[in-house]
Amino acid sequence: MKKIDTFSANSLKLLDKSVLEFENKYLYNLSIMKKDKRAILGQKFHNLICFYIKNFDVSKLILNLTQDEQKSWQKLKDYLKDKKDDFIKTEYSFLIKEKLNSKPYFLTGRFDAVYKKDGFYVIYDWKTLNIPKNPKDDLQSIVYLFCANKIFKTEKIKLKYLSIEKLDSFEIPFINPDYYKEKLDKIILKHFIK
């Protein structure tokens, strides 16, 4: 049977939940593309932040938002205002090659933004929905921190979930690569050994 060799945080979450569902979705593409209002709103805010950090004038763009959304944006903008110049990347895609029992696999994903100050990297993840319940053990945190360590070659890394509307945030510090690798391998093995 053909195997998937490239995993994202979302695909790993599904694999962790059910191998069958994972394979149906990622191996056989048995999924339906659904769009809901929240996802679209989230995408809008992602783009706005991105444009704002890249120094595009966004004053016209926000005319597209409702009044409530504009208020949220204003707060978010105020929050980002001082940090803006220290963001080194936005929408940063990555591809990491790893191995499991000498078999290669790849981790992929996209950081919403990377902030660097005083030699410390903060990976930002904007959340329209709620911040994960157990952020530390969330597979997104594991994948992101593990990969950020490979990319920036330092352990001075944090992952920060930021709720776009409420501006709640949660920071997760880097622990150690082996801890993450072990967790990731365990899940990936479910697919590889099947």
């Binding site: 999924s31 783009n47 595009f56 763009l61 591809l95 090659k97 290669p104």
Partner: protein, 1269 residues
Amino acid sequence: MIINANSTTNRTLILIDEYINLLKKGVNSEKILVLVQNSKKKNEFINLIKEKFDFGNIGNLKIYSFFGLVYNYVNENWALIENSIKDTKNVKILPNLCGLEVSQYIFKNCINEVDFTGYNSKTSLLHQLLRRYSLINFNALDKKEIKLRENILKESYSNEAREAINKYKLKTIEKRAFDYIRQINLFEYLYKNLKNEFEYVFLDDGDEIIPALLEYLKYIKKDIKEFFIGYDSNGSSRLGYLGAINVDFEEFLGEKAHKITTIDKKTKNALKILNSIKNDELIELENIEQRTFLRRDEMLDDVINEIKNLINQGVKYSDISIITPLCDEFLKSSLEKSGFEFNFISKSEKLNQNRLIGYILEFLKIINDTNNSDISPYCLKGILMELIGLRGASALQFIQEYKIKRELEDKNLFELIKEKKEEDFKKLYEIYEKIRFQKLSFQLCEIITNYIPLNKEISKDIIKINQLLKQIYDFEEVFDDEVGINELINQIENTIISENPLSDDEIEENSIVVSSIQKIIDYSHKTKYQFMLDINNEGWLKQDIGPLYNAWVMQKSWKKESFELEDNMELTKDRSARMLYKAYLLADKIYLYSSSYDSLGLENFSGIDKFYKFDSKIENSTLQKPIIPRQDQKAVFDYNGGLMSVSATAGSGKTTVMLLLIEKILSKEILNNEEIGEIEPKNIFVLTFMESAARNFKERIKQRYPQLKELPNISTIHGLALRIIKENNNYSRLGLDYDFEIIDEIKRTSLLNEILYTLGIQNDKLNLYDSAISTYKSELAKYGDYNCSNKLFLKVFNLYQAKLKESNLIDYDDLLFLSLKLLKENSDILEYYQNLAKIIIEDEAQDSSFIQQSLITFLSGKYNNVIRCGDINQAITSTFTNSDVEGFREFMKKSKNVEMNRCQRCATGILDCANNVVKFANNKNFNPFSTLIMKPVEGVNIVDKNAVKLNIFEKENEEIDFVINKIKNILSKDNKASCAILLRSNFAIARWEQLLKDKKIKTYCKSDAFINNPVFKICLLILEYIIEPYDIKKVKTLIEELFKLKKYDIATLEYVKNINTPLFLCQNYDEQFFWDMNYFLYKNHYSIYNLVYEIGNFYFKNTKQEVNISLVATIAQKIRLNQKSFENTVKKLREIQFRSNFSNIKLFNDDKNDESREQTVQIMTLHKSKGDEFDYVFIPELSQDNMCFNIDEYKLKENSKFNQKIKKIPLDDLSLKKEIIEENFRLMYVGITRAKKKLFISASNSYKIYNKVRPSKNSEFFEGMESII
């Protein structure tokens, strides 16, 4: 670095190594732009990097197809574009980077605002403008460059086109909706206003890039440290309307390319093809298997057999690919029935061609149709069974109840569903309530969630469902509620998804890919065996020119100040050479397949076959039965060029002589002179009067010379005219669009009806105007600027012409007229055909029209080799067609005339009778005949001086009894005898058929009517049964017909005849017929094509009728396109049962060899009998009314008079009468010469007319014959 190498080399691997080297040197992957041809190549590139890269962080890869780069660039930098737009009403944070479906909708509405007065192709205007607009964008043409091209092409509609495109552009900005073509404009704006971030550029398949990409590379070139370019200087298969440009990369970078040359077999072959085509040398067939067939079904059967052989030898599916430009339903159905795994990659398709989507869309229509008025019960059955999951019988019972309650109580479907207690219905109603007022995307998602199980079996459907969802989301985002749900569904149903680079057809593992050549090249799909099918079909050579676009002149690199036919031919040839070259690099072994006819029975021409050298020699030693000409035939074969007329009497073996003529030309026994040079089959043009004769002729040649890979051009004059108009885009010189159609009888009648109604003319005059239009067109061809004086007729004529033009239609007369016009007005086109037509042979020359004769004169202008065969004595069409016997007479005078006056068909007494008709005419001072007197062939004809019986009866019944008793007598003595009754009018046929049936004599009415064809009849009856399974009568009629065709035995017939409940409720599990009918009843094909195909295939596979299966299926499918429902389609099929042509599709009839004709009497008109022969012939009812030879007694019909009024030089009544009576003589002559053994001519002194017995005068024929004897 530039690498010039083809796809068999390691070119891409070298690029990958260079890429990884850069990463290893510490270059940030974000600084390296990689551009590949498409998403498949992108994935391959990434996979190779993944494979070759060491462990760790590979980086943020910037690997794109050009359109992928554009899409991402626009998305990431959208703010800059939004800020440059003035309006603040429709601001978007996310642009609508939508599919072509949305832009097509926008474009359609913009076009409606522009006045394209006089433009002849409203139906394809959108298509034309989309092509124009994409060529402008692909080629990055600025205003000046566009203007220059408008002038070169002397375009008539450039202002309108510009206006429409500008309106469209404005609208896309207003809606912030940009398809991939429009995104190119935004991309250009962005890269010119933003800082370039890349330092290195990799480009693979550089030979396929479009100028818009080249412009970008030129722009960023100054910032780039190094380029890495891989290309094939012989490539560029996407030249033309796909917009590729041939780039000199050495000049672009100012460095030499590394050339990698390979000497493998594939490259050698590919280069040979490339060079042969470019140098106008024909490709010799090496490592190529070439097979030709007459019909497409025969060709496909052979393909399947060959694949079967390969599979049996251990070849895998994935080692085989099939390339054809005609990836139609017929091909799909034919291949699928083999049971192999196929992966059809369509160039363009409508989403509802997918069965599941078809049902989903129908379901959505029902949900959103507030009055529930037009629900098709057949479709509802499909929805209930396929989506909702109801069992067949339950669905049928529910539908029956619904039909009744709708009729009687005006009950709405969902009201009825609400009343139902069963769980399935309850759930259905709940979902209906939940989604009925929601957005379409929500409705669709709910239906999928509740009714579509996401499993592997429907994985292909899920891809399509997601495409559907994407379209709907796009529409909803761009238009919000502006486009109503029903309009949206309608739009989706009618949008063809094509050439969208974002649609990623995945090649399935372990299946035989069936695709166009372009996709095979684009995907570099390598296989061991490549089957190229339909190589003689024009679809291989793409259409790069239309009234509103010219892909060649719109190329960025176009330098010439004019555009000629030669340019088009040269450029098309160059592109074809490149395409074949690239395809040949992808396969070890290639098969070339062709068939004379396509799946609609239309002739194939002008494909890539012209590039190949085929064996066209006929060697006498290979012939099974050499033809030895008779003494009177021999003179024909002394022919050595120039003009020759062959006067051949009935039964003189004319067809055989023509066959031998071709044989002798091809074997160089005749016409072997230096001046003419080599004569190949393509240099021989044979023109027949009837389509069936052309088909028959081809079959005979194919049977006789099976080794002949290419057949001569054998067609009707209309077939030839169509070729002249279509070939090499010649239609564009006439201002026609490539998809023009020929109006068929049905459309013409309805169009004329409409016009007559508008002008207040009674519709009983329809036939008058119908034939007058034809006459007038012939007059126009003859006299050029002639203007008819009948004002009312002119009004009808002008309206008719305008309507045709508006709908991109032409009629059969135009076909001839326009092809003649093309030859007259375009010396290059004329030269092309004159070079080709080394010899022209015409059959039935006495029926040739003025235009036909002019065409022959033009075509033969260079070599002047024309042989016209005919028999003036058999000219029987001049009173109702535009045939011009005088033209043939004139030709006979100026040409060498050979007479074939020996008739071996008829008994001597019958020959005498025919010759006596000539004398009879002379005695009456008419001159209908030539001087040819028929003579028998010694020792061959039956000697029987009494072979003709003339009988006059007192009463009609006596005559009928005589005929019937004679027939019974003949058939009882000789059950192989062929008998025919020849009648004067169509009207009498049905009556005689009934008379014979009453006496238990089997009849067959020679007619090309669809209903006489068993495939049509059975399919129609089963379709009607499917619609009305409760109608017991229908199933009884059906079994009778199937029994006649020996499909079921007498026991089944008896069983079905005795049932009194609907068959599907009978539960008689022992009856095969019960199972067969249930199968069709419960088989829910969304497409009527597939249903008809399956029925046809079930009953007629491996029979002579097999060829008609796809034709009947296509007729049904074509009707379906214009009908609201399946039920209406079936009704319409019933309505056209007596037609013989629908949308120019005619069925193949094989009367002569049909065994079911045994013990059957054929009934037909005298006119129809021409070309046939029978042992016993009856010509009854020869009254004066039916066959008048007396000028004083003859009454002219209104039709004949009206036609004369239209002519420039009309005949006076007396001359017209004389002409008609002369034709009567010839008609009698034709009827007489059909008989081989005995001929019975009779009349009665009284006939029942309008329920009253009236005295009747006999035809003067009897008296005339008697006086001669």
